[in-house]
């Protein structure tokens, strides 16, 4: 399989009312699974991906030919052991890997939707993915988990479907997107929209691509995923294949070259409009406001066991914001554990080889499954 049309998907025929008010019908939810569902159907784990992820969690991504985005954590004998658990991951609504998104073709005009795609929310994403439970005839998931925007979906999932998962593991996330995070997302969006090739989101129909804008957006965002110490240690002031400064605007420093590379590979696999829509969904995420200022109410109907994980060097979704979730859960006597993992790899820690994190995740999931 190497064609986007070969991607597994369900077409949801139940109408879904989006937060913006629009009702959608017959929309696709693209997904991938790993491992197998047991006879009791009590070993399913729904993984939610982050901003630029997709449904290809583990193994080789058939489209990009690169490792799945959570290969360190998901696979045979890994933290989320696919020999034991049935892992499902869907491409989020708004994404560009087969689910309903701005790169879909509008059947009424035969043109790519672009900015005619509705503004969506984390709530809409979760409601769309919920249809996979019906599709697999799973009454209750064993676990929902995900990092960053994936963690936000975890929180929204339990809030929307309080009895549909035994355990929930939100990682490096927040219950309410901060001003700083909205600011960074806005920077990315403005960069894309400032690219003349964006043409009001209509670039695909005009055979253009706002590569420059999207790559600058990615470069800026990438900095926020790392930590100052991590960058300093990895790159410092090291020069890129040269002995001295060139007194030009070429990439003199390794960090510049690294960021340019990250930007350039990103445009090959990601749709600029998807980037706009998904960052907007993150910005709109405010589970506290959804529950009139009381986050505890989001979980009051649920018996789900929670385990919240944050990272010391994550300044994008800092420990304090993760702890707010813990505090809200403790306020209603929920079963909640929390750990802050020591790591200098910044927000990206959850995606990387951070052994203490992976061990903790594994132990929590396996001991919870024993008591299942």
């Amino acid at each position: 399989m190497n064609n986007i049309n070969d991607i597994k998907k369900i077409i949801v025929d139940k109408p879904l009312k989006l937060d913006c008010g629009k009702i959608i019908n017959n929309f696709p939810v693209a997904y991938e699974t790993y491992g197998s569902l047991n006879a009791k159907k009590n070993n399913a784990i729904l993984v939610f991906h982050a901003l630029t992820g997709d449904q290809f969690v583990s193994g080789i991504n058939p489209i990009t030919k690169k490792d799945g985005w959570w290969s360190y954590a998901v696979g045979p004998e890994k933290a989320i052991d696919t020999n034991k658990y049935f892992v499902i991951c869907a491409n989020v609504m708004g994404g560009c890997m087969g689910s309903y998104g701005p790169s879909n073709i509008d059947p009424t005009t035969n043109k790519i939707l672009g900015t005619n795609f509705p503004v969506i929310t984390i709530n809409d994403m979760v409601n769309a993915q919920y249809n996979l439970l019906d599709f697999f005839k799973i009454d209750q998931l064993f676990c929902v988990t995900g990092g960053s925007m994936g963690g936000m979906q975890v929180l929204q999932f339990v809030s929307n479907f309080p009895d549909k998962t035994k355990i929930a593991i939100p990682i490096a996330c927040t219950a309410s997107h901060s001003a700083q995070n909205i600011a960074f997302n806005e920077l990315g969006r403005q960069s894309i929209m400032a690219d003349a090739n964006w043409v009001n989101g209509n670039y695909s129909n005009e055979k253009l691509n706002p590569d420059k804008g999207l790559s600058v957006a990615r470069m800026a965002a990438h900095i926020t995923y790392l930590s100052k110490n991590g960058l300093q240690e990895k790159f410092g002031r090291k020069l890129q294949e040269r002995d001295d400064l060139k007194f030009s605007f070429d990439a003199d420093f390794q960090i510049e070259s690294y960021l340019r590379y990250q930007g350039s590979v990103f445009v090959d696999r990601f749709d600029a409009n998807s980037y706009l829509y998904i960052t907007r969904a993150m910005d709109y995420f405010d589970l506290i406001k959804q529950h009139h200022g009381n986050l505890s109410k989001a979980f009051a109907q649920s018996k789900t066991k929670f385990f919240v994980i944050s990272f010391t060097s994550d300044w994008l979704y800092p420990t304090s914001e993760n702890k707010d979730i813990v505090i809200a859960l403790n306020a209603i006597g929920a079963d909640v554990g929390f750990v802050e993992i020591e790591s200098d790899k910044g927000h990206d820690s959850f995606l990387l080889n951070v052994p203490v994190f992976l061990d903790t995740l594994k132990n929590y999931i396996n001991t919870s499954y024993l008591n299942n």
Binding site: N330, A331, V336, G337, F338, V339, E340, D359, T360, T367
Partner: protein, 198 residues
């Protein structure tokens, strides 16, 4: 398991909700969960210990009792346990008040600074005492507010904190502490174990 934990376990009723403050590697929590069907939660400041608790399948929050107890509602636990940690807090009085707010009852154990071996070391050697329950040297001890059994006993009485049970532990033997034998127990016991409520 150490005798202190067995005594604590005996003080806790079955099928209750318990918070273990400074739960360490979860040894006591594990025992309470498996032997008394207790819905037990822990708070622990050391990341390493939190991970050991997770390995045992225990529900633990990484946090600092001095800052983080505030998030629990009033009387949300039947028992709150504080084992040999009171003396390490910046403000033990606030912590005790928090324990008695969050828990209907609290179980507090303290290494007794009135123990004769402790007194003798300071008196004869003139150096800060080092014993089984006080193993660290003056410069690396986490202890900030050492107290004796008598200090804690008086502290509770002065603040109208009810002492439901006061036990002295020495050489694997326990005995009750009362107003009458307080001075003797304060000399002879290594550890004091108190079941208190407001």
């Amino acid at each position: 398991m150490k005798l202190e934990f067995k005594i604590i376990t005996d003080l806790v009723e079955k099928n209750t909700r318990v918070l273990d403050v400074g739960c360490g590697d979860g040894t006591l929590m594990d025992f309470l969960k498996n032997n008394k069907k207790i819905d037990v939660r822990g708070i622990e400041i050391s990341k390493n210990n939190v991970q050991k608790c997770v390995e045992k399948g225990l529900t633990v929050i990484e946090g600092d009792a001095e800052k983080d107890l505030i998030q629990f509602p009033d009387r949300s636990f039947d028992f709150v346990i504080l084992s040999q940690t009171l003396q390490a807090f910046l403000n033990p009085e606030i912590v005790i008040n928090e324990l008695l707010r969050v828990g209907k009852k609290a179980i507090v154990t303290i290494p007794n600074f009135g123990f004769w071996k402790v007194r003798l070391q300071l008196l004869i050697k003139g150096t800060m005492p080092i014993t089984k329950t006080l193993p660290d040297e003056w410069h690396n001890t986490p202890n900030l507010h050492m107290c004796s059994i008598k200090d804690f006993f008086n502290f509770c009485n002065n603040r109208k904190i009810k002492l439901d049970k006061s036990l002295a532990l020495h050489n694997e033997k326990t005995s009750s502490i009362s107003n009458i034998n307080l001075n003797i127990k304060n000399l002879s016991a290594e550890l004091g174990i108190f079941l208190i409520e407001k």
